[in-house]
Symmetry: C2
Subunit: 311 residues, 2 copies
Amino acid sequence: MSLNVATAFAPASVGNVGVGFDILGHSIEGAGDTVTVRRTNTNDIRVIAIRGTLTELPLETENNTAARALRAMREDLNLDYGYDIEIEKGIALGSGMGGSAASATAAVVAANALLETPLPREALYRYALEGEAAASGSYHGDNVGPQLLGGLVLATQDSIIAIPTPDNLYCALVHPHFVLETRKAREALAGHYALKEFVGQSESLALLLTGCFKSDFSLIGRGLNDVLIEPRRSPLIPGFAKVKQAALGHGALGASISGAGPSIFAWCVSQEIAATTAKHMQHAFLEVGLQSDIFISKVTGPRAEVLSCSA
Amino acid sequence: MSLNVATAFAPASVGNVGVGFDILGHSIEGAGDTVTVRRTNTNDIRVIAIRGTLTELPLETENNTAARALRAMREDLNLDYGYDIEIEKGIALGSGMGGSAASATAAVVAANALLETPLPREALYRYALEGEAAASGSYHGDNVGPQLLGGLVLATQDSIIAIPTPDNLYCALVHPHFVLETRKAREALAGHYALKEFVGQSESLALLLTGCFKSDFSLIGRGLNDVLIEPRRSPLIPGFAKVKQAALGHGALGASISGAGPSIFAWCVSQEIAATTAKHMQHAFLEVGLQSDIFISKVTGPRAEVLSCSA
């Protein structure tokens, strides 16, 4: 029996993790996109429905992340069938939680289940990366990487590598109800950089990775110190300094911008501290008039999974 | 019996390791500086002799790396005695092998042995860092860090952390007989940097660290790809492209500039490959008219050690 329909779920993710701009991210539980793909006897890749938290997404293959990912997969594998795609958005637009990436990841994971011999997750990376580029305009795997593998992932131009993290390391992610246009977030990074900024950020990145490999919370905390991107982007997020201070003041190891923002993440040494931290961060956002949603997750978050398959 | 005289040896080191500018370095065996310190009943720190590969070094406390390191140590610990210092240089000037740092490291390790309660290596870091700044004009521990701890070390502004490396990872270091002024090497780095350069270099650094922690030679090789510093400094080293190609063409995982140059290092998966690689690198230097010295060492090189102590 050949399979014709598959549904997959891809989790939200924290891109950049502050100090790993474009190359480091981790998945989180509690939010994600669900995509159903159905084989068709055509050469077309069609988005036939978008439901959920937002529905005003592009439908054209070129501009829809799920469709563009499947086009890349179809062309690379010389598949002789097309796809109809249904997308159930669970991640808010412009939240910095990897929503564009999640639709692409869920689509390729679902389509992979329909292959006679499904590919390993690493092989799906470039398709998901191509899909995500439909929204971001560039190739960076700090969201699709962790969505494919789960947990914290180093995503280079051509590969994804899992980075171990302590089991009791938790993320408090707070998403304010405020849309930060990716274009503006990108513009904030324009211009030149000094070598000393780079050295400072390298130090942070190296401390974070070393702390993860050694399960050393102190090193991890010292590593969560973004001196390159955060100073440029944080002025775009109302209340950023207060929210970060609320996190650091209530036991978080560190806090910074999730993806391009405006969501802010904090890493904590237990679920309890993460929950307390998140509430204080939420309160700080309220002080500048912003409602927000809270997500608490292990940093070793889930990976995308196939929910169902049928003929 | 209180100890009054101690002699210590500090090994040469490969600063930067290409992709860890100012923050990553490893020690090597086969070359180093030896420093003897003697307690005096004065408040002075005097360099009374410099012997070895070079003798034309500054003698004033402010400008001599060993003396300035001991001054920092003396002031911080409120010691009521001074030091006479003798330096036996084993590392060539301006070679990119951490010579300035080695004198500072050997001095503090020797002086530490004379303390009633010697300090742990990590506590000596800031003294050695202060000493090394006498030569470099800035604070970066990518040489004194590995000299103090041995092996590959992440050296941040205020701490040094050992990074594990595979036991059979070897370094071929080739030092051409050509002095590259540190001033020129620094000028080559002036100007602005683009964010995309930073992302590329971060990727390399993250791959290198991940490869070391996972003992994965493939990741290490991919990580040894300096896209930030090497393009700017390599034009100052005659034959650089040929020497690097000689290394890569004979099995090295990667190769780049040691410290500020002109020495070039290559990492290899065995002692045999390192030896072969070094000979081919040496030959490539000869083609541009430069004689050179070869050093073969485990990347997990030695740390500074006290050679003798007496009353």
